[in-house]
């Protein structure tokens, strides 16, 4: 479907042409921008609704990663004695859990979002990309809340912020790109193949172990580091540790490979989504 140029209703209103789309579809990012208020409202809705009628409310955003860290420290840190690059295990784990929770919760919620929102998809026109975008962006709020614990941990273990903290936004961006790419892929796939909905949690579990959250990346043999970095979350996690808790910086090779992988995921996810978008209303 191709849309016309400007949208404000004037004396001579814009013409929209509706026809079957053929072949490659343009990315319609301009249209997404025009609907930015809707994206805002959908995100706002997700945030508001997430913790309604719960006792702890937004406290869950903090409690979940915190408790996970406690459990990990007990079993992986103490019991299993996994090496943690010289960093105390709790903060070693938490600095990784923070971006990981953002990724995992974003992807899991986004995967089912189109199917859950079938009422919207079959009744109203708007760029469908806004639907998985909502839960992912809403995750930023949880991320912000959970960082509070991290600040507390840094103070407790005496890790003063260094200049390296300036790189944090870059790694967060990398995480965002990866989350969006995977979210678009899974949410679109789920509309046509419901297996994807079952696949997502399983995929996240595998992905978890492919990311150096409970173990250190330095445990991975150098020969495999390049391949390993194809998982962008590897660089994200290592980057977070570098920025916040004096970990070793990710190598240039890792940065290059991960960024390329994240870009491919984002681009591929968006393109796949757009190609499948035209059948959503018919199939969901």
């Amino acid at each position: 479907m191709t849309a016309a140029s400007s949208s404000p209703p004037l004396a001579d209103p814009a013409v929209t042409v509706i026809r079957p789309s053929r072949g490659w579809v343009s990315l319609h990012l301009g249209e997404l921008f025009r609907y930015r208020e809707l994206v805002y409202f959908l995100t706002w809705r997700d945030i508001k609704v997430r913790y309604k009628q719960t006792l702890l409310g937004a406290g869950w955003a903090i409690l979940q990663p915190f408790l996970t860290m406690v459990v990990f420290s007990l079993f992986f840190g103490e019991l299993a004695g996994l090496p943690s690059d010289g960093i105390p295990y709790p903060i070693f784990a938490y600095s990784a859990l923070l971006p990981w929770q953002f990724f995992e919760s974003g992807v899991t919620k986004a995967a089912g979002s189109l199917v859950l929102g079938r009422n919207l998809v079959t009744k109203v026109y708007f760029p469908r990309l806004a639907v998985p975008l909502g839960p992912v962006l809403a995750g930023l709020v949880d991320f912000a809340l959970a960082s509070v614990v991290l600040v507390g941990l840094m103070a407790y273990y005496g890790y003063a912020p260094t200049a390296a903290i300036g790189t944090l936004p870059a790694f967060l961006l990398l995480a965002l790109a990866t989350t969006l790419g995977v979210s678009f892929l899974l949410s679109a796939g789920n509309v046509v193949y419901r297996d994807v909905g079952y696949l997502a949690p399983f995929l996240m579990r595998l992905w978890f172990f492919l990311t150096p959250i409970v173990y250190a990346a330095s445990e991975v043999p150098p020969a495999f580091r390049g391949l390993y970095a194809l998982n962008p979350m590897v660089t994200v996690v290592e980057g977070f540790r570098y920025a916040l808790v004096h970990g070793t910086a990710p190598t240039l090779e890792m940065l290059a490979v991960s960024t390329a992988a994240a870009a491919a995921l984002l681009l591929g996810g968006t393109i796949t989504f757009h190609r499948m978008e035209r059948t959503f209303a018919d199939v969901v």
């Binding site: 479907m1 929209t16 079957p20 409202f41 079959t122 109203v124 193949y193 199939v283």
Partner: protein
Amino acid sequence: MSDVAVHAVDLGKRYRIGPAGAGYRTLRDSLTAAVTAFGRRRGATENTIWALRHATFDVERGQVLGIIGRNGAGKSTLLKILSRVTEPTEGQAEIRGRVGSLLEVGTGFHPELSGRENIYLNAAILGMKRREIERHFDEIVAFAEVEPFLDTPVKHYSSGMYLRLAFAVAAHLDPEILVVDEVLAVGDAEFQRKCLGKMGDVASQGRTVLFVSHNMSAVLRLTQETIVLESGRIALRAPSPQAVDHYLAAGMSEAGERTWDGDARLAGAAPFRPIALRVRDAQGRVVQQVASTTPFEIEFEYALDQDVPGLRTGIYLATARGEPVLTSFDADDPRLFESLRVRREGRYRSRCRVPANLLNEGVFTVGVNASAFRVRSYFTDERALTFVVDGAGSPGSHWPEPRPGPVRPALEWRIEELTG
């Protein structure tokens, strides 16, 4: 600058139906389909239907166009295409102006959010910008009459409040072209009255409106011209009264007939055997929709496997909500009953004539019963058939207001001026 708001040429939409295509699949389905397709000949017929085909029409700016047809005729598909919710398989449409779609009220309402929050959310989903929403906010609340409950989560709203709020938001859209699908089918009489009123306002403001409905009175009231869709094609485009007549006359509502082949209850009814229950219009055609201004017949066809004494068959007429309207038996006339004391073995048809201007507009159910009074009840089916009474032209219908009650007779009124 053209005066055509919607210019549609050869629009068509094809759906795949059956296990291969309707809706989502699992990987397993796709794999099995791929494997079986391997063995199949190329070009073997796939299960597809054209929900809409060769739809070509223009809608002028400011026109209010009705779209009617049976269920499955393609009305909703056409609206979905024009609302860009789904893509056409072929053809093209040019739309001049913003399209506001009312395909369902309350799209996007979230039960946990308050009325106020849902107004914003729903309005944004329907395409309003924040500034517009703020401008219309008070009007919306006033129209919906929910001011005291604005900050309560909508899951606590009554269904009436919910609908009023949802419609209030949608009604304040400011598009050049409004596309409305059957929103009048929900809600109570009061709500429908409000909806109709608002729609009338919108239409008189000079906006282009496409109005899909099964409510012929509403179509006649709001539109000047109407398109009749039949099996995905435009059968007729004519001034609304003509189009509505065509639709009703062609008996295009679904079968007004109920049969009992192979019903498990039949064994217990023997020697009585019900065959069919039908509603026929004044011309004798089997219909599901009748006009209140013409008489119609309800007929019950049955067979007796042996002579049955003292039999009577009859109907229970009730509103769709289950309120009883009347009960009438074919042997209610005592003389008729005497003359048919024993009904011989054979096939029968008992017909009753419902006079014009008896029933009010609405949906009714017909139940049947065959029994011998205080001896045995042979067969009962309480909600055997549903039919619709369309009230266009009924007494007082020149005032667009709903009148409660299942009957709407044309009573004889005399007005005398009293002097002295």
